[in-house]
C-alpha cells in the first residue's frame, strides 16, 4: 500500500520563548519547521504502513531549503521524499498550490505506484486556510475526509475505509472507498522518535527533486502568481485605535487597592454588568 503525506515547511511562530522580565516573546534563530499539524498526518500514515505493509512517501512544494523538512520527515521513518520546487511556483495561492501538488501526485503514482491514501495536516500555521487538501482531493477525484480524528477501519484489499470525523456538535462516522484524501486532526496520535537507522538513512537519503516540468506540468499559466485567482492587494499594520488603553495608576499602590480600582472602572463603564453579576451571585 502506498501512502503519500503532503507536508509544508513553515516559519516557526511556535518556537516561542518569553523574555524573563518584559514577558515579550523571543524567537531564537531558526526560521522554519515542519507544519506541526502535518506531523499527525505523517505518524498516522506510518502507523497504517506498519500495520498493512507498504511505503510512505512525503511530498512538499517549496523552495530548495524545504529539503530540510523532508529529511526530518525521513528521520521519523518515512520511506521516500519528493521535493517539488520551481521558481514558477512562486506566489501560488491555494488553487495554484493544489494544482501543482496534484500534478506531482499523479507523477508519484506513475513512478512509485498510485497512492491509496493521501494525507495532509488539518491546516498550516502560516496560512491556516485548510484549502489545499480539499483542492487536491477534487483534482485527483479522491474521496475527501477532513478533520479525521481516528481511522476506525482500513481494508486496502477491498478498498474500504471508515473514519471518525469531527463535525460541529459531534463526531461523524463515515465510510467510503479508497483512494481517499484525509486531513488529520491534531492530537490524533504522537509522533514516534526515529531509530538510529532511520536517522542515518535520512541523513544520506537522495531527495527526489522535481521541477514543474519533471512533474509533468505543461501549462505554467496554472502555476504561481499567474495561476492564482486571489491576489494580495495590500499588506498593512492594523490601524492603531484612536486612543490607547486608559491606564489605571499603579505606582505605589497595593494589589488590593489596584484590584479595587480595576473593578470600579469596569462597573463604571458597564453598569449593566454589575447588576447582572449581582443577580448571578444572589443565585449562588
Amino acid at each position: 500500500m502506498h501512502i503519500v503525506v503532503c507536508i509544508k515547511q513553515v516559519p516557526d511562530s511556535a518556537q516561542i520563548r518569553v523574555h524573563p522580565v518584559t514577558n515579550t516573546i523571543m524567537r531564537q534563530g531558526v526560521p522554519t519547521i515542519i507544519n506541526p499539524y502535518d506531523l499527525f498526518a505523517l505518524e498516522e500514515a506510518m502507523r497504517w504502513r506498519d500495520k498493512a505493509g507498504g511505503e510512505v512517501t512525503v511530498l512538499t512544494m517549496g523552495p530548495a531549503m524545504a529539503e530540510d523538512s523532508l529529511r526530518k520527515a525521513l528521520s521519523f521513518g518515512a520511506d521516500r521524499a519528493v521535493l517539488l520546487t520551481d521558481r514558477y511556483f512562486a506566489g501560488s495561492d491555494t488553487l495554484a498550490t493544489s494544482f501543482a501538488l496534484a500534478a506531482a501526485l499523479r507523477k508519484i503514482g506513475e513512478e512509485f505506484g498510485a497512492p491509496l491514501m493521501v494525507f495532509t495536516g488539518k491546516q498550516t500555521i502560516d496560512g491556516d486556510t485548510a484549502q489545499v487538501g480539499p483542492g487536491i482531493a477534487k483534482r485527483l477525484k479522491l474521496n475527501q475526509l477532513t478533520y479525521v480524528a481516528r481511522i476506525v477501519e482500513l481494508d486496502p484489499e477491498r478498498g474500504n475505509i471508515t473514519v471518525e470525523r469531527r463535525a460541529e456538535g459531534g463526531v461523524q462516522v463515515l465510510s467510503t472507498r479508497l483512494p481517499v484524501l484525509i486531513t488529520m486532526l491534531e492530537g490524533a496520535n504522537e509522533m514516534r522518535r526515529g531509530s538510529l537507522e532511520d536517522a542515518l538513512r535520512a541523513a544520506r537519503a537522495e531527495i527526489v527533486t522535481w521541477s514543474a516540468a519533471d512533474a509533468g506540468i505543461s501549462d505554467l499559466t496554472k502555476c504561481g502568481l499567474r495561476g492564482s485567482p486571489t491576489i494580495v492587494k495590500k499588506v498593512f499594520a492594523p490601524p492603531p485605535r484612536a486612543e490607547k488603553a486608559y491606564q489605571i495608576e499603579t505606582s505605589g499602590r497595593s494589589m488590593e487597592a489596584l484590584a479595587d480600582s480595576v473593578m470600579r472602572e469596569i462597573f463604571k463603564r458597564q453598569p449593566s454588568l454589575e447588576s447582572e453579576l449581582m443577580r448571578f451571585s444572589a443565585g449562588q
Binding site: Q28, R193, E197
Partner: protein, 434 residues
Amino acid sequence: MIEERFDAIVVGAGPSGNAAAYTMAKQGLKVLQLERGEYPGSKNVQGAILYANALEKLIPDFRDDAPLERHIIEQRLWTMDDTSYVGMHYRSDDFNEERPNRYTIIRAQFDKWFSRKVREAGVTLICETTVKELLRDSHGKVIGVKTDRSGGAILADVVILGEGVNGIVGQRSGLRAELKPESVALAVKEMHFLPREVIESRFNLKGNEGVVIEAMGTITAGMTGTGFLYTNQESISVGIGCIVSDFAENGTTPYGLLESFKNHPSIKPLLANSECKEYAAHLIPEGGYNAIPELFGDGWIVVGDAGQFVNAVHREGSNLAMTTGRIAGETVVWLKRRRDELSKANLAEYKRRLDATFVMQDLKKYKKIPDFLHGNKQVFGLYPRLVNAAAQTWFRVDGADKRTKEKEILKSFRKGRTLPGLIGDAFKLARAWR
C-alpha cells in the same frame, strides 16, 4: 548495535565539532557527527565574534558565502563605574583589508552555514540525538557511543567530544569531574534590532565596518565578569556574565545585571529606540589552564569548550574551539595514515601539537588569572571607581591647578588601596599576566 562502522564519531555540531569533522572528512575519513539539538547551533550561544585566522585554516575562502555581519575596525575596552567609563579605543583603517581579521556574526545563521560545509565535505550529521555514554571494550578503550535513539550503539575508531561546556558524556564516562562553579561563568545576552543607518551613524561606521565594546567594572556588582556590546548589520548584541560561584554568593540575577548594564548612561543611548528581539543565556568556561581536564585517552579526544579551551582575558573561545577541533582531526588523520592505533599513547600527539599553538601557550600564560581575579575583587569595584574618578578630576577644568589635581589623584589611590596594597596588586597582576 547497528552494523555500520565509522572512522570517527564527533559529538557536537558546534565550532569545535564542526572543525574536527570537517578536517577528517576532507581527508577521506568516514565521519558521523551527532548533535543533541534540533539543528546545529540551536544549543550554541556566543556574543559573537568570528576569528578569521582560525576559520581560514579550515575553509580559506569562507568569505565567499559565510554569513558575516560586520568586520571589526574598532575595539573599545571600557573600565566602567556607575556613571562613567574610561576607555581605550583602537580604530584603524588597516582593518578594512581585503581579508578582514575579525567579524561579528550571528551564530544561528553562521552555524547553519558551517554545518552545511561540513555536510558537503561528506560528514553524516544526525541531529536531535544525544550521546548517552561511551562504549568501551574489555580493556577500557573507547570503541563507540550509545545514543538516546533506539537501535543500539555505533562503533568507531575514535570519539571526538565537542559536547560543549555542559556536556554530560565526558562526565558520565568519568573522563572529567563535574564543572566547578568557580570555573564557569553564566552569561546572558540580548539582540536589539536597529536600522543599519542608525547603527552606522551611532558608531561612526560606513559599509560593513563594525565596532566591539568589551567592558568591565562596577557593571558586575563586584563580581568577576565582563560585559559586551557588538554591532551587527542591523542589530546590536549586548550581554554580561559573571562567574557562577560569584552569582551564588552575591544573590543578583544575571538578568538584573544586564538590565543595569543596558541602563548605564553610556550604554543606554547606544541602544535607544531599538527593539529587543532575542534573549539567550549560556555557560562559559572560565577556569583556564588549571581547569583543563584530561584531553585524550584510548579512543577519545576532547575539543572546544568541553576542554575548557577559553581565553578568559581576551574573551576568545570560538577560535580555540575551531583550532582544537582542527588539530584533533589532523591528529586522527595522521595516525590513520600511519595505520597507528588510536591509543592514548598515540593520541598524545594531539596535546603535543596543541602545546605548539597559541591555544596552550595563551592558556598557560594566563593560568594564574582566574585565581588572581577570585582573590582580587578590587579589580571590579575599587579600581574602576578610582580610575574613573581620577579621569574626571583630571579632565574637569575647575580652576584647580594641575599639580594639585595630580596630588589629589595619587592621594585617592593611596587612600583607597594603601601604598602597599597598590604595589602588591601591581606585582600580583604582573605575575599573573606573565
